[in-house]
């Protein structure tokens, strides 16, 4: 057991533990905080995997962006300290069983499968490489998807403003 391994297990525990809490706690704000931890754990995992760029993106977008957004929306829509309503126990058990069965199925497949790593020379996920390929227009370049995603983000931006601004209709 070296430090890296211990770190890995800690991160895994953090991701799964706070993820589990995020979906089970009855207080919405806490759930958001747990989610935050889970996402931070994920970022840590990326660091551990030496994908620093992704880790950075994760921290910036998820931890810094989406979580904050969620928390804002909680403030906008929710009375503080109010506990969330829960589903019927039957439904909860059903969901748990379904999730577990799915998980089991997936794990069985994963375990049965033998993944063989490529023998090719590995390519470092450095920012230079990423940048070259991301904005490359030759074969294997991601310039076009990049642009598409930019437009998507723009559309989402405008769209969400429009949706949120719409005056409430009096039909209920």
């Amino acid at each position: 057991m070296n430090g890296a391994n211990i770190l890995f297990y800690l991160l895994a525990a953090m991701i799964l533990g706070s993820g589990l809490l995020a979906v089970t706690t009855r207080q919405l704000f806490r759930a958001a905080i747990y989610l935050l931890f889970s996402l931070i754990g994920m970022a840590g995992m990326y660091f551990w995997l030496q994908y620093e760029f992704i880790a950075a993106v994760q921290v910036v977008v998820y931890v810094g962006g989406i979580t904050v957004l969620i928390i804002f929306s909680i403030f906008l829509t929710q009375q503080a300290g109010e506990k969330m309503l829960v589903k019927k126990t039957g439904q909860q058990i059903f969901a748990a069983i379904a999730a577990f069965c799915g998980f089991a199925l997936v794990m069985i497949q994963i375990v049965q499968n033998n993944f063989t790593a490529t023998k090719n020379l590995s390519l470092s996920p450095s920012v230079t490489n990423i940048g070259n390929q991301m904005l490359g227009v030759d074969k294997g370049g991601y310039a076009l998807p990049f642009e598409v995603v930019s437009i998507l983000l723009l559309a989402a931006l405008i769209g969400s403003i429009v949706i949120a601004l719409r005056t409430p209709t009096q039909t209920s």
Binding site: A98, C101, G102, L105, Q109
Partner: protein, 648 residues
């Protein structure tokens, strides 16, 4: 050779009259319709006489045998190589005779109607229908093809329908015309199937070929037709019987006669033309046309013809004695006389002396056309005068209607078979033929001829003698008189015919095989029928000459018989029962019910099931996003399982 154009003109001129009257009559020819039609009819009659003269005296006879000539034949509809409908002209003695009869009576009726229907609203329509009828009847008699005869057969049926329904606002007329059409249509079904049977075995529809193939003993067609059998009777006999059913329907033979008395709802001249002189003898004509096949190859069928004819003759005569509507009496008398013609054909054999019945039948057809038309036209004059059909409203009319009275008397004498009037000669020949071949029928015929004399003179005395005539007081507007020249001229002409037609040596012209047949006059044989006829006349004289209660007494003493005969042996009621109860209630209604409830119900049930199911299925669309997610997941995992475990 015959001039085909002239013969075609005979047929087509009435059609022209129909077209002119039908298309332009209502608007342009309101007043002149009758004149134009009569002129066309006159031309047609002249041509018919010309043709008959030419045929009988110039070109018809080759080596002493009258030939069957086909001056015109046009392929109208080709089914297959052998079978085709041709529109043609077949000229033989009976055609020539019928051309004369039809055009002559038609002309008489055309003229007569000028007076009878004067001032009618639908005058042109009436003449159009007359033209249509004459055209169809002439087409029928010149037909060279069995399908052609069927075509015109239907057309005369429909023109009869139209003319019976001429007074279309009278419900009884509407019922009568429908009845006439449907009953004859039912018979035509038999005719049609008969044609199909015959054409199948003979491989042709052409009369000459058909007769030739089905009579020569060595032909394959005849052999196959005799070999094939259904219910123990050969196909040929079936075919001929079925064809005869058609003829029986049109000729009002028992038991398909029920339409004829009701058909008297039409205008009286129409009854004279269609339901006395021409159309009703079409059945006789048909049997005569196919006579060689009947006589040589299907004697069983011919026997049926004989018995049906004899039974109808007697049956109708009995009924006629009790009827009080003068037109109905005449209608039953017509039926009875046609029965005579039928059984005359039925007892006849083919060729030579044995073919006397055939000649007699045609002769009777000819004379009957004259005196029966005369009777009807006379009755028309009476009805025109008293505005009633019922004998009870008449009596003592001999003063008011002298010409009518005289001509009517001649016709009565003719139909009763009193010498030397026309009916005597033809009836004697028929009785002789029956006597020679079938005693049963002979006795039936003898009784019938006695009855005939009785009911005709009953009619005569009731109209013209009996009580004295008191005109109805409401008939102020009445155009009292005999209807003028146009109505009397046909009566006179026809009565001349009824007096003299008997002296025509008919056997020389018309015989079963075309050779001349010299009919001898057997004085001792005539004693019985004439005596019986005179007995009938005197009985009628005794009962009906003056107003008395003897007839009523007699009727009440024979109450049951009288009632049955008065109600026409309840045949109408039986038919009504069959059609109403069985056809409508037992087949029609269930069929309609079945369609509405079962077939339609199944369709609707399919629709409803779909609707109910979709009502259930739509619940899945609950609007709850998590339920959708569950379905989605189940689907994904289901598919994943399938792909993982079953596809490998």
């Amino acid at each position: 050779m015959p001039n085909a154009t002239y013969i075609m003109l005979i047929v087509l001129l009435p059609l022209l009259s129909f077209l002119i009257m039908g298309l332009f009559g209502r608007t342009y020819l309101k007043n002149t319709a009758g004149i134009i039609s009569t002129c066309l009819s006159f031309i047609s009659t002249c041509l018919a006489f010309y043709t008959a003269y030419g045929y009988f005296f110039e070109y018809g006879k080759i080596n002493g045998v009258y030939q069957k000539l086909i001056p015109f034949n046009y392929l109208w509809l080709a089914f297959s190589e052998g079978l085709s409908i041709n529109m043609g002209i077949l000229l033989d003695p009976i055609t020539a005779m019928m051309l004369v009869v039809v055009t002559l009576i038609s002309l008489m009726v055309h003229i007569y109607s000028l007076g009878y229907l004067k001032g009618e609203e639908r005058f042109p329509t009436y003449y159009a229908f007359l033209g249509l009828f004459t055209f169809s009847m002439l087409g029928l008699v010149v037909a060279s093809n069995i399908f052609q005869i069927y075509i015109f057969w239907e057309l005369v049926g429909v023109s009869s329908f139209l003319l019976i329904g001429y007074y279309y606002e009278k419900p009884s007329a509407v019922a009568a015309c429908k009845k006439a059409f449907i009953v004859t249509r039912f018979a035509d079904l038999g005719f049609l199937i008969g044609i199909l049977v015959l054409s199948f075995y003979a491989g042709t529809l052409d009369f000459n070929t058909l007769i030739q193939r089905l009579t020569s003993p060595e032909s394959n067609e005849l052999k196959s037709a005799l070999a094939a059998s259904f219910l123990g009777i050969s196909a040929l006999t079936w075919g001929m019987i079925l064809v005869f059913v058609g003829g029986a329907g049109k000729s009002a033979m028992f038991p398909l006669h029920i339409w004829l008395p009701d058909a008297m709802e039409g205008p009286t001249p129409v009854s004279a033309l269609i339901h006395a002189a021409t159309m009703v003898v079409a059945g006789v004509f048909l049997v005569a046309r196919l006579f060689p096949i009947f006589a040589i190859s299907a004697p069983d069928a011919l026997e049926i013809v004989a018995y049906v004819g004899a039974i109808s003759a007697l049956f109708a005569a009995i009924i006629a004695c009790t009827q009080t509507d003068i037109k109905r009496v005449l209608a039953f008398s017509t039926m009875s006389q046609i029965g005579f013609m039928m059984f005359a054909l039925g007892v006849s054999k083919y060729g030579g002396e044995e073919g006397l019945g055939y000649t007699a039948s045609m002769f009777h057809l000819f004379t009957h056309a004259l005196f029966k038309a005369l009777l009807f036209l006379g009755a028309g004059a009476v009805i025109h005068f008293v505005h009633s059909n019922n004998m009870k409203d008449m009596g003592g009319l001999r003063k008011q209607l002298p010409i009518t009275h005289f001509t009517f008397l001649i016709a009565c004498l003719a139909i009763s078979g009193v010498p030397p009037f026309a009916g005597f000669f033809s009836k004697e020949e028929i009785l002789l033929a029956a006597f020679q071949h079938n005693q049963t029928i002979y006795w039936m015929a003898l009784i019938t001829s006695g009855l005939t004399a009785f009911y005709m003179f009953r009619l005569y005395f009731s109209i013209f003698w009996n009580k004295s005539y008191h005109p109805n007081h409401q008939d102020e507007h009445g155009h009292h008189g005999e209807g003028g020249f146009v109505m009397m001229m046909p009566l006179v002409l026809l009565s001349v015919g009824a007096c003299l037609a008997g002296f025509i040596p008919f056997g020389k012209f018309v015989s079963s095989d075309g050779t001349a047949l010299v009919s001898e006059f057997h004085l001792q044989f005539s004693i019985a029928p004439v005596a019986l006829g005179l007995t009938g006349i005197f009985t009628a004289l005794f009962l009906y000459k003056t107003e008395n209660d003897k007839p009523d007494k007699m009727a009440s003493s024979l109450r049951a018989l009288y009632q049955i005969a008065y109600h026409k042996f309840y045949i109408d009621e039986i038919y009504l029962f069959i059609t109403q109860k069985i056809l409508f209630n037992c087949i029609g209604k269930p069929a309609a019910w079945f369609d509405k409830n079962v077939v339609d119900g199944l369709v609707n049930a399919t629709g409803n099931t779909t609707q109910v199911l979709s009502e259930k299925i739509k619940k899945i669309q609950s609007g709850k996003v998590q339920e959708y997610a569950v379905y989605f997941l189940v689907g994904v995992f289901g598919l994943a399982m399938v792909f993982i475990y079953m596809w490998k």
